[in-house]
């Protein structure tokens, strides 16, 4: 077990996550499914309890103290998110249910207004179904087409092929910053620069990146950025769409309802200003406040040290994986977030997942909502261990000891 090369105290942060301290099937839990969802620190749980205990009320319309308090916290949460990703203004932060809804919003609203027959939407072969299917749906309506950007054997976007695909037909490029299935970190700044050179807009799916290092939407110069609260130590049900102001202002509303309107009449309705134009109905107020608590918690830690710890975990796990007979790592890009996807020769991933669970180890198995990618590798799926800063080197030792037990049982 390598000594941590930073002064990062993993035991101290683990104590902030009460769920980690439990037995599963008689073994201390080893939670390695962080790419699916992250666990919540006590500060987030407390914020949710406090909101429902003291402040619960509807936002923006009450003529009473509780509503004012809920509204103030809800809008402060928007500012917290804006600062967290360095958005120009909080009015460019749209609350959604998660990355998937953020992408659906852009595809339906921006895509519906801007795509026409013959236009192309480029998506990488690494994408989650959430960043493929909404584009296919709008492409079908507008007679545009969705074209995959090829990915090589290591799981790296082929930038030469990407450049060759760029021409005036391309109106949108939708890529993830980090692949959920493989962990590949994509060169989004370069992708955005190249896409802009032919006049295309770029949506970055940040679902898998946002938990790992600071994101600056102005520095990468993306047109849209999507992420989910629950993958950032916040509650489920809350997500974020960032967009450039001029694009958001031009886009028609996504859904109709309360909040998103200015005036309603049967002669015609006028829509509210940003960001409310895109927020029909009562939002996930508690979720937004919980997400802000998660961001405050992260900001209280040394994020450089957290990222270094995650890199060390991945390096350690990769080294151990390479020593397992018959194990093949799926996803060997040069630049990777803390995700280890693998297959074991002769054993179905679902068998491995079930037998690891018996030993208290939580991983994800299957196609990871990236069927086109699994098809490219010719495999039914992988076992995916994904790490967060609260994981330890001991967690990785437990994973590989358990994997040895799986091999003994099945081979």
């Amino acid at each position: 077990m390598p000594a941590s090369h930073t002064n990062f105290d993993v035991a101290k942060v683990r104590a902030d996550f009460p769920i980690l301290n439990q037995l599963v099937n008689g073994h201390p839990l080893v939670y390695l499914d962080n790419a699916a969802t992250t666990q919540k620190p006590q500060a987030v749980i407390d914020a949710l309890v406090h909101y429902y205990t003291c402040d619960n009320s509807n936002v923006h319309r009450g003529a009473h103290t509780l509503s004012d308090r809920a509204t103030a916290k809800f809008e402060a949460a928007r500012k917290t998110v804006a600062a967290f990703i360095n958005a120009e203004s909080a009015s460019q932060i749209i609350w959604t249910r998660g990355s998937s809804e953020s992408i659906n919003l852009v595809a339906a609203s921006w895509g519906g207004a801007n795509l026409k027959s013959g236009d192309r939407i480029l998506v990488s072969a690494l994408e989650h179904h959430s960043n493929i299917v909404p584009w296919q749906m709008i492409a079908e309506k507008t007679c545009a087409s969705v074209v995959p950007i090829p990915v090589d054997e290591s799981g790296t976007i082929n930038m030469v092929a990407f450049s060759a695909l760029l021409d005036s037909r391309v109106k949108m490029v939708a890529v993830n910053q980090v692949s959920n299935a493989l962990g590949t970190i994509n060169p989004v700044e370069e992708i955005i620069r190249l896409a802009h050179s032919v006049g295309a807009k770029v949506l970055v799916d940040g679902a898998q990146a946002i938990a790992h290092w600071p994101v600056d939407v102005q520095a990468i110069n993306c047109d849209f950025y999507a992420f989910s609260g629950h993958k950032l130590f916040g509650p489920t049900g809350i997500g974020v769409l960032y967009g450039k102001r001029e694009l958001l202002e031009q886009m028609p509303p996504y859904q109709g309802g309360g909040e998103m309107i200015e005036t309603v009449s049967f002669d015609g309705t006028t829509y509210n200003q940003l960001p409310y134009k895109f927020e029909a109905g009562t939002p996930d107020i508690a979720g937004a406040i919980g997400l802000a608590a998660a961001i405050d918690y992260l900001n209280s830690l040394d994020r450089v040290a957290l990222a270094a710890h995650e890199d060390a975990l991945l390096a350690y796990a990769t080294k151990k994986a390479l020593a397992v007979p018959g194990l093949k790592i799926i996803g060997t890009a040069q630049s990777k977030a803390a995700v280890l996807g693998f297959v074991l020769e002769g054993i179905h991933p679902s068998d491995i997942g079930m037998l690891l669970d018996q030993q208290g180890i939580a991983v994800r198995t299957g196609h990871h909502c990236a069927q086109p990618l699994m098809e490219q590798y010719g495999i039914p799926g992988t076992v995916r261990a994904s790490f967060s800063f609260y994981n330890t080197f001991d967690d990785i030792d437990r994973l590989f000891a358990a994997l040895e037990k799986v091999r003994q049982l099945l081979l």
Binding site: N25, H348, S350, D351, L355, Q358, L409, L410
Partner: protein
């Protein structure tokens, strides 16, 4: 080769699984049950026999002989194949009326491990049971 539902019954399986103390012995037994299934003909590995919604591939073919239903099952995952063998111990060679009358959830409930796995969507157990019950309807 033993016939599931005749030589290996649902009662045998409950008795054996209850007898083991450790989880790895139980899983070893389940995996071995899967290995005792008669091999499925390659010609039966077709899309119409494939059961959707499972993480691993699961095939089920059936035939009716003298008023009884006989099933052939296969999977590309070891544990799922063993679980399918357990389902067959309950259903194979039974009349449609017997299949309809059998309390499969009670059977799963009586085995701790099956209770857990039968609610796991990826295991394909519920989809398999639903298909068999449809054939016996």
């Amino acid at each position: 080769m033993k016939t599931f539902g005749v030589d290996i019954t649902s009662t045998d399986i409950v008795d054996t699984l209850t007898f083991f103390d450790s989880w790895d012995d139980r899983y070893k037994y389940i995996i071995d049950l899967g290995k005792e299934l008669p091999p499925m003909n390659a010609s039966d590995h077709v899309d119409e026999n494939l059961i959707r919604g499972c993480q691993s591939k699961v095939w089920l073919s059936s035939e009716s002989r003298e008023g009884r239903l006989f099933f052939n099952v296969d999977s590309d995952a070891f544990i799922v194949k063993g679980l399918l063998a357990i389902v067959l111990a309950a259903y194979n060679g039974k009349t449609p009326a017997e299949i309809r009358a059998f309390d499969i959830n009670g059977f799963f409930e009586s085995i701790d491990l099956m209770r857990h796995l039968s609610t796991t969507r990826g295991s394909g157990l519920q989809a398999m049971v639903a298909r068999i019950q449809m054939l016996a309807a």
